[in-house]
Symmetry: C2
Subunit: 133 residues, 2 copies
């Protein structure tokens, strides 16, 4: 497959290839689909660049025991993917990713997940009721 064909793949194809690759315990290979200057919006704030993204998503991916792709849609420029994950601390942790793709790589990602079960599991927050008595 020559480069012109490769780079003409739509955003959905790239988003799915990225998802398949990291969810098969191959986060390093999945980084091939991430632009070096990726701009990411996470629930905890913005991240800039591939290495920041690797620190965020790679760390999470390493804890994932199972993934299930729930839905994926897109067009040439953007894709929206919803998946579920299972981790030791959180049995069901779905994520949604809206990505834009340019030249076969993800250049922006808005990722959405529920931080609460992770923050509770990590002891970063505690239920207010735990301090009542």
């Amino acid at each position: 497959m020559n480069e012109s064909v490769k780079t003409s793949r739509g955003a959905l194809d790239i988003a799915l290839a990225y998802h398949r690759t990291w969810s098969q315990d191959a986060f390093d290979r999945a980084m091939a689909y991430i632009a070096p200057d990726i701009a990411v919006q996470t629930p905890a704030g913005p991240l800039q660049g591939g290495e920041a993204f690797r620190g965020f998503m790679g760390q999470f991916a390493a804890t994932v025991e199972a993934t299930e792709l729930l839905a994926a849609y897109g067009d040439d420029a953007r894709a929206l993917v919803l998946y579920d994950t299972r981790t030791p601390d959180v049995p069901s942790a779905p994520g949604a990713e809206l990505v834009t793709v340019r030249d076969g790589r993800i250049t922006t990602m808005r990722i959405l997940f529920d931080q609460l079960p992770f923050a509770l599991a990590a002891g970063e927050v505690v239920p207010a009721t735990a301090h009542v008595e």
Copy 2:
């Protein structure tokens, strides 16, 4: 428009009509797109039926000051929508909804949002560091 035409609308049309309606301060009218026996998965757990859904989503919708539709895709049976919301307590609270539609109404919804800022704002959880000193 007769009933047969109305009920042939694809899932994306219905999901967008539902979104537009509730985000225009018309949650009661938006309930016209919700099946009475809707099955909902929320980050806090499952909900069953239109009245349970109204209690959950209607209460939230009443607090929303602004919405922005970020992406919406779908086909005849399912749609996936990502939007951002602004509420008094949480300046940016995006939500993702995967819905299935039958006969012009949403019969299942998997809704994803970050519970953490809402739980902090409501005092349901507190940062663990608040108890260090």
